[in-house]
Amino acid sequence: MGRITLDQVQKKFGDVEVIPPLDLTIEDGEFVVFVGPSGCGKSTLLRLIAGLEDVSGGEIRIDGKPATDLPPAKRGLAMVFQSYALYPHMTVRKNITFPLKMAGMSEEEKKRRVDHAAEVLNLTDYLDRRPGQLSGGQRQRVAIGRAIVREPAAFLFDEPLSNLDAALRVGMRLEISELHERLATTMIYVTHDQVEAMTMADKIVVLRKGHIEQVGSPLELYRTPRNLFVAGFIGSPTMNLIDGDEAGNHEAQTIGIRPEHISVGDGPWQGTVGVSEHLGSDTFFHVHDTGLAETITVRAPGEVEHRAGDTIRLAPQMDKLHRFGSDGLRIA
């Protein structure tokens, strides 16, 4: 069980309010991702839940029981740190055993759990090595191993993949998702990478300056961003946000259209190709001189050849248009 409720939780460092009072419920078994630009308070929020920081106000409940004043170890949560935080002088086995040893568990139980975790994470061959002798991905797995042996109510991940190279990151992303499938334990995952958020989450919490901008499933956020910030943050490449007359034509302050919802061909907009990015599967064109103030990014599926300076016509899909009012909020 791992239902976590935050009720008016607030954090101040001195006079600086990092997290204004905030409510959030994380259901049992959910994979929740906190995402936002750096300095948005997502790591602080995670540390508040972990108990590594004290709240300045409000209440945290885990499975209905108040946990606000409990020390970190008593909350039944396990955390995987950005730097992995492995103990360098201990072997992998001792690292993974450490929380069990601190809990005073019997030798057989310790061995059973560690062997099981090592098997799940493919670490059996490395149990006698030290962290210094492991690669980044293996260290990451040891850190996860140390978390799962405790059989916690929820896992907390603090940007666990940011120290890995791109290829390994994709692999570990998959492994963590599979782990969640298998354990079905609540997981809270902090990242600044919206791709990680979109691919892994059941529920995404978008944060900015300590405020929750929107909570929802990845596709909800993609389809109906609640405001301009979410619209610009979710999706890659980012949504085209257009002000001015064109927006006025749609009775909005700003209109947004995703690059994948504009097709190259016959359409109302015309412009000059600037930079084009060829990914093979897709081609991105940055089009300017469209009569709009902004450079428009367009995604064309497959390999499409247009040189810089070519004039092309663009057809936005009008039903995929997002409209935002002068307060930045979405107009239904």
Binding site: A73, A78, A85, L86, Y87, P88, F98, A103
Partner: protein, 290 residues
């Protein structure tokens, strides 16, 4: 070719300093060895005949020799124990965030800047003196008999004085090592349910092992040759109660003007230092491997 050339050039260029340093070390060592085999007493001028190991036999059979060896080991061991344990304790305390950290740290480190003779004299005259010392005054206030430290417990007093001088050094090294500990490791241990003591024992102490080794090795080198503190406080006495090997060599060569026996003592001190070094490296040297 270029690297071979530059290597040869480098060798030629550092050769003068290597030769100078080698001579600097080898000439005194050679002369000490040479004198140790001569009957060479400044009070009995003569032709300084070669006498083999007579000086060594004389030095080793001197009743003061055994006392000096024991005192040397007690001094080194006692001071190491106090400074390492105290240094770890102080490092843990100073690592805590608190008000006035900067000033407190400077004050903790300052004893190291006081020269040994001065600090020993301050301790002798202002603290341990049975008539005018602060400790005597405190004993007086409490209605107790003042304790004459340097007469009744000379070796322990010197251990105390020298520990006071070296504690800052140990603290400084251990504090910097402590500060290099990744705070996420401590947080991870906290999440893992480790108590404050467990975090210290399982995380901080192993992290400090290399720094502790460095402290022990460096201090041993200096502590084997404590001299100034003994000279200005007890003069090695009463009797030989606070005579260490260095002081015994001084007594032989400069108080009895027996250069031969003094040199023999010096050579024995070198051998002893090397034995201690070998034992130390065997015991704790593996901590230095990365």
């Amino acid at each position: 070719m270029a690297t071979q050339h530059s290597r040869a050039a480098a060798r030629i260029m550092i050769a003068p300093s290597v030769v100078l340093l080698l001579a600097w070390m080898l000439i005194p060592l050679g002369m000490t060895l040479y004198f140790s085999f001569l009957r060479y007493n400044l009070l009995m001028p003569g032709n300084n005949p070669f006498v083999g190991f007579e000086n060594y036999a004389y030095f080793v059979t001197d009743p003061a020799f055994q006392a000096a060896i024991v005192n040397t080991l007690l001094l080194v061991g006692g001071i190491l124990l106090i400074t390492v344990v105290g240094g770890i304790g102080l490092a843990v305390l100073l690592d805590q965030p608190m008000w006035g950290t900067g000033i407190v740290r400077i004050m903790v480190i300052s004893p190291f800047f006081v020269m040994p003779t001065v600090s020993a004299l301050v301790w002798k005259n202002m603290f341990m003196n049975p008539v005018n010392g602060l400790f005597a005054y405190i004993a007086d206030v409490l209605g107790m008999q003042p304790f004459d430290f340097l007469t009744q417990a000379p070796l322990a007093s010197i251990i105390g004085i020298v520990s006071w001088q070296w504690l800052p050094f140990a603290t400084l090294i251990l504090l910097t090592a402590m500060q290099s500990l990744d705070s996420e490791q401590l947080e991870a241990a906290e999440m893992d349910g480790a108590s404050a003591w467990s975090r210290f024992y399982h995380i901080k102490l192993p992290h400090l092992s290399r720094a502790i080794t460095v402290v022990i090795l460096i201090q041993t080198i200096f502590l084997l040759s404590i001299f100034a503190e003994i000279l200005v406080t007890t003069n090695g006495g009463p009797g030989t109660a606070s005579t260490n090997l260095t002081y015994l060599v001084y007594a032989e060569s400069l108080l009895r003007f027996d250069v031969g026996t003094g040199s023999a003592g010096g050579v024995i001190a070198i051998i002893l230092a090397n034995i201690v070094a070998i034992f130390l490296m065997r015991m704790i040297g593996k901590n230095l491997d990365a």
